[in-house]
Symmetry: D4
Subunit: 253 residues, 8 copies
Amino acid sequence: MDASTLRLLVERVAAGQCTPDDAVRQLRRLPYADIGFARVDLQRDLRLGMPEAVYGPGKTPEHCAAVVEELLSGTDGPVLLTRADETQVKAASAVATALGVGPGTVSDSGTFATVAFRPAANRPGAVVVVTAGTADLPVATECTAVLSGLGFEPQLLTDCGVAGLHRLLAEVDTLAMADAVVVIAGMEGALASVVGGLTPAPVVAVPTSTGYGASLKGVTALLTMLSACSSGLTVVGIDNGYGAACAIARLLP
Amino acid sequence: MDASTLRLLVERVAAGQCTPDDAVRQLRRLPYADIGFARVDLQRDLRLGMPEAVYGPGKTPEHCAAVVEELLSGTDGPVLLTRADETQVKAASAVATALGVGPGTVSDSGTFATVAFRPAANRPGAVVVVTAGTADLPVATECTAVLSGLGFEPQLLTDCGVAGLHRLLAEVDTLAMADAVVVIAGMEGALASVVGGLTPAPVVAVPTSTGYGASLKGVTALLTMLSACSSGLTVVGIDNGYGAACAIARLLP
Amino acid sequence: MDASTLRLLVERVAAGQCTPDDAVRQLRRLPYADIGFARVDLQRDLRLGMPEAVYGPGKTPEHCAAVVEELLSGTDGPVLLTRADETQVKAASAVATALGVGPGTVSDSGTFATVAFRPAANRPGAVVVVTAGTADLPVATECTAVLSGLGFEPQLLTDCGVAGLHRLLAEVDTLAMADAVVVIAGMEGALASVVGGLTPAPVVAVPTSTGYGASLKGVTALLTMLSACSSGLTVVGIDNGYGAACAIARLLP
Amino acid sequence: MDASTLRLLVERVAAGQCTPDDAVRQLRRLPYADIGFARVDLQRDLRLGMPEAVYGPGKTPEHCAAVVEELLSGTDGPVLLTRADETQVKAASAVATALGVGPGTVSDSGTFATVAFRPAANRPGAVVVVTAGTADLPVATECTAVLSGLGFEPQLLTDCGVAGLHRLLAEVDTLAMADAVVVIAGMEGALASVVGGLTPAPVVAVPTSTGYGASLKGVTALLTMLSACSSGLTVVGIDNGYGAACAIARLLP
Amino acid sequence: MDASTLRLLVERVAAGQCTPDDAVRQLRRLPYADIGFARVDLQRDLRLGMPEAVYGPGKTPEHCAAVVEELLSGTDGPVLLTRADETQVKAASAVATALGVGPGTVSDSGTFATVAFRPAANRPGAVVVVTAGTADLPVATECTAVLSGLGFEPQLLTDCGVAGLHRLLAEVDTLAMADAVVVIAGMEGALASVVGGLTPAPVVAVPTSTGYGASLKGVTALLTMLSACSSGLTVVGIDNGYGAACAIARLLP
Amino acid sequence: MDASTLRLLVERVAAGQCTPDDAVRQLRRLPYADIGFARVDLQRDLRLGMPEAVYGPGKTPEHCAAVVEELLSGTDGPVLLTRADETQVKAASAVATALGVGPGTVSDSGTFATVAFRPAANRPGAVVVVTAGTADLPVATECTAVLSGLGFEPQLLTDCGVAGLHRLLAEVDTLAMADAVVVIAGMEGALASVVGGLTPAPVVAVPTSTGYGASLKGVTALLTMLSACSSGLTVVGIDNGYGAACAIARLLP
Amino acid sequence: MDASTLRLLVERVAAGQCTPDDAVRQLRRLPYADIGFARVDLQRDLRLGMPEAVYGPGKTPEHCAAVVEELLSGTDGPVLLTRADETQVKAASAVATALGVGPGTVSDSGTFATVAFRPAANRPGAVVVVTAGTADLPVATECTAVLSGLGFEPQLLTDCGVAGLHRLLAEVDTLAMADAVVVIAGMEGALASVVGGLTPAPVVAVPTSTGYGASLKGVTALLTMLSACSSGLTVVGIDNGYGAACAIARLLP
Amino acid sequence: MDASTLRLLVERVAAGQCTPDDAVRQLRRLPYADIGFARVDLQRDLRLGMPEAVYGPGKTPEHCAAVVEELLSGTDGPVLLTRADETQVKAASAVATALGVGPGTVSDSGTFATVAFRPAANRPGAVVVVTAGTADLPVATECTAVLSGLGFEPQLLTDCGVAGLHRLLAEVDTLAMADAVVVIAGMEGALASVVGGLTPAPVVAVPTSTGYGASLKGVTALLTMLSACSSGLTVVGIDNGYGAACAIARLLP
């Protein structure tokens, strides 16, 4: 898939250093580790600039631990475990400790935890994470934990909902100076539109499932953010704090 | 249905001024005019404080004219024809002119017209109608036309969308001083939340079908407004400028 | 944001009573208390005519208590805690009692409680709250608790659903005389349309998630109320008894 | 399929009046006429108590005429052509006239026509069709045209929407005396609930696509009617005046 | 509301047997019992031909018992308690026993119970209740329990889904001979269409929330039934076995 | 229903070996066993080429066991119990063991089990089951368990999601050589489109309810698969691993 | 992508018959023709067993003609143009004629045409296409036209909807004998479930947008088919006659 | 709003160079031009790094021209007119020509045009715009036109849909080297997931309303993109090529 690797291989065949059969076999031996129930992507960091994350739900603690172990052994960058419950965290931390990596940094959002093993070196961008209300904090916690794991030091501005606009306007300089902004809001999600009109930075909006009634578990905020009258906002899925952090990692150096 | 009328009637029976049979018949002869294809509600103004409006779509010009005529003859308050096309306006205006009322005030929103015959006497409240963008003007036009017909002199603030928040903040005093505010916005409808946080006045939000893509013909703005984090906003149906005006008429003296 | 405060500040600068740097700092020091996880809006009552409410879900008991404390200390009007569970109520009541305010008035809806601390002085308007069935009582309880906290003495009419229209018609005078009406109905929500045709008062309709099958957890009642053929009804979100009470507070003196 | 026919056939085989091969062939030769593009159901009237109707949309005028012809020739009961446009009506009427049946009774709803050929003999039931507004008349027209074709003399009560409840209450005896009631309403469809509480008769509710905004082209009225708090209402599809008439034909003698 | 009662009252006034004030008071004293949290409709049986049912969910056992008591005392027809849990059944049965009515007939659907007190005298109609699968039995149980309480002896045909059409065709005569048919089906709900083509009787279709994936908790079956190509089917809400039984009670003598 | 059976019967009547009454009775005695709460379809295997499966949810353990018993006794092919919980498995296995069939093969997906009794003889087709992620394994487990019960030896390729395309491309020959492919994917379901472009085999796509936020419990993957730009994909319901296996059984010899 | 091609190439490099640079270039020169606005997939037939079809909508007549020309020149199998309007057909036919292929076989569905150029050699499978009503004919026409282009001779059974079940049962042998069945139905789509219970063949269900009201432009039929109680049905997108034909081509030899 | 402007003003007041009254007035005179029907945001470029665009739909040609004129006069950066029809383009071009700017660069997407006046100076980033099919070209055209107006030279890769994966893989280096990628896809939108797995660059996904049936006018592609298994994708609204271009402008220098 990768042109230079391909050329190298072909040159080795041409040079007689590799038989055609071996070449075909190598072309097949792609950069993942097949551990039976999973194919662990060991070059995602090289390819996408960020590591494969281990998504907890639906995995046994043993599965979580095994994939974390594989990633810690097979790569040398940060490794993330997301949406993990207590037993998953425990199992993964044990494995990481056994590998000499230590238990990882655990960020508990209340309903689940994000664990960052072997966090990346510091990255320079000024990332601001703004939430509309305190109920959006679990999603913000996931987002900042992932950002930290990826090397950023995000600044968190909580409870800036537009019902009291002055709470947001007090941070107008922070927003205008940011290199990237994540807006996390449930209910009607109007905060994204307003922030989008106050900063030239890229704005990634995260709808949350906060609220009741017509907020439709985040669908209302999602639609609001997709229809925002402020130009150039982009949106990730509902409650997807992890995805927003990855989007930031893609767009900042 | 009306206690005092009922008592009067019963007293007349008790006094022998009315036979039981007549009483029953009168109790049946309710305050509407049956003109075959429609039952014109002649006491809606007395009962609800605002007149029955004639809704144009689906009616022939003759039907429109006939109902307008019935209302002009059978009541003495304002009469409204809404969402009318050119031929409906013409037919209704002709009838009104023939009755000596004059052709009515026609407000053309581009796609349909609102006609106010015999507008109400001036009413004191300061009603502010705010729109997010120029595409919301047709709905605003219907709203202000109905408000005018009901005796108000609404102030229209156009193009105050939150993408350029300063355009709205420039009107912060106008909003804070208003007796009632109508917010008309499509796309993501965030304007309602922001206005709701800037004024203690009752705020009636009207989602419009402006926008494309994820704005879902007004459903997004509707959901946004229903989920607004500013407390005490109320909402009417999509593009329902008429309904918002009526809501104002209910809540102001 | 507030013109007179702004002018005062600018005049003090002009008079040399305040340095430009201080002025900018003061302009930044907006009227909220930043308590880390939340920005408590201390002038919401002044700005919007009703206090910031503390929304329970997603907050720890300590968070609830801390925000209640901040509001009780930083303002002198009523303070509301909504949708609180038992431990949140306990924590907040303890703090309020410690401040000499007393434990607040607790209204239990069955699934959650509304607590009103330091209720407002009596306000004159005749507010009628009508429910369609007994299953709508939890939402009605929230609504009347908030109305009471804001100074009203709402009259509650229960179980007036249109399947037995005479139960509603018996209250026709109460409705016609009201200064404002809140209609709370689930299932098909038809009660709002009928009430809207019986009273000239402002009508705020609250769809509830009562019912099953095609009632779609309140969406059916919501759509019904938004499409009501009675003019000038306004609607709040599903189960939003709190929002309806705030809407009443905006529109009555 | 029909037990008595089956027994007759089997008896004829037993009696040697029919060979097994013929019996199988007859069992296959089911009571429809295959005319290439359609299989005309010639015994629907016998089986279901009402004739197969020819649904216009998507058929050429020739197709309409051919199916009408087949039904007129192959059965002796009423034949209905529904939702037909002008050229379809013309073609079908020509064929019927050629067959000596006459052109049929054409009921024009404004957007399409219902044609009843060879209407059924009078049937005794008192069927009342109630509409909420004049915009529901096209659906009512289809319903009454089909009812007439099936032998009923429906009574039409127009414009009885609940915004002016007295217009409906004036007809309370008519409703209470009816053998069956069809309620046709768009917008929020609340009329069905109210009528359902006023009559012991079977009530068939037809939601219409009348209205705009949150009425969602009839979906709101549909949901309302399905969730009605009045017990025992039944509902047909949106704008399905034809289906409501057939439901009546099933339940009345 | 009732013409003859009205006339009687008016005649008594005319005859001086009743003062106008008393007449007005009596006109207000409508036929329900206000027991604080509920308005028990005591003449629903007279008005609609079937009794008010007590819907369990959301009511305390005491509330259930109180309403049942009120209905048993204030009327002399059958009384139904629906969707009740064990403690509600117990409380209501105790009250009924104390009144000498006996504990009622309890039909347990697995998740909730239907209780019929003082069932109606036998009614003649042949009612057939068909289910598509065993998972539809709880809804069928509610339906037959209510039918029994209303005086019918319904015949239940279980597990007749169209995947094995012969299971249904075996009952083709039963269906063709029925006076009314209730079809109860989840998943794709196709059974209703097929039954509708096999019987001339009125067919009331009940979608159930049986199934998973694309069955959308009954919405798919609901839409299927509303769109059925068999003419004259009518539909009630999802899982609404009670409503179907009431619809039958309306349409049979 | 079956022509040859029908002919045989008719011939026996013609030959006097069977009276017409008996013939009608036999025509009625269709090939299912009525065991009260269920009609067990004993010839489904003959008719459809695969056995009736016993769907666990909503059945008591006794019901499950009874239907399994009936199928094991009344047929001689494989019998499947799907989506069963522990007590259902136990009851059914006991019955099967008592019948000398043995306890069956139990495949546990984590949340429920599939049990195959008396599996079919080996069938030759090469069936490949591909999953996008480890969270799709429960659905894949049901699918492969049913395939095994029906005689196939499916090859399972796990964790081939398109985020690391090389993991899928490594299996490109396996896919190209398959006789049939089942693609099981949640979240956005893009794997189906990509696989569809890599193999000429029939592809059955199964959307899963894996994921959160905008994945809408499988609806997003469902819509994706239905709209796939690769031609000739077919789709079954959400999480319907059983249905996909049956579809394979229909299309392979 | 294709293992044998890859091996060949690598062997040629190993043999010195091809330089590494050339090999890389060839690996890049993938089997499509880039004609500026489109990348024409010239090996789709080899890869997927069926040709790339040219989808008309949104392409100019010139674009259609150019892609058709490219496919006719660059491949030697059948070429299909789907959903084309008159001018697109004309342009494509002219190009094909100029190439000596002839104008192709045009199947007009009423709203658009399918054109098959250079149809495939006859293929043996017995494909039955069943429609529920005449309104489903346009989709059936597309399906049979594509099947014909791919070498099949499909048998079309029209108007077999379940409202007159005997029309379908008359074809029960045809269905039972088929190698594959396509069921095309709109409205409630119940035909698919019934057919699925009558044949062991693979059944591909195509929902159509036929119908009105609750049929929701095909969504109802789609959901019905996905939830069908007959096991092993598979479904393609709404109105996707083309996709169904391709699915058949994948599963038959 | 802007801290430095604010400080300057306050300093001028402090210095006596500006009276408090003047200061307040200036604070009110915010940077927009009120031209009656619109408030033209003259500092959007300064504030957000990109100019206010003039959205054509719903504006008269005169309105378009007036706003374009205001922006050309009041700012000195690029000015964009989007989704304009022919008469709007003409009017705006005339005004721009009269101002000496020239007629602008018109990009016609087939259904509407994008006009860029006074395009920005070249910006360095390598922006790649990938489309799935030719039907996505109109949206791509809007996107590249806006990108060009903002100073970029986007590279357009057309027709790279995943049904023929090799067409995309041929561009794998282009994607891996890009500074930012816009993926434009309708139908099932799977292209975004695949591209997201091939490049470390920020990826902005644009769902288009291309396709029919289950593609639901872009909603399917939208949901797909929001649920993509490739981490860090962000999404804009359906058909919103303009929004995607603005998002790129925010994130590239």
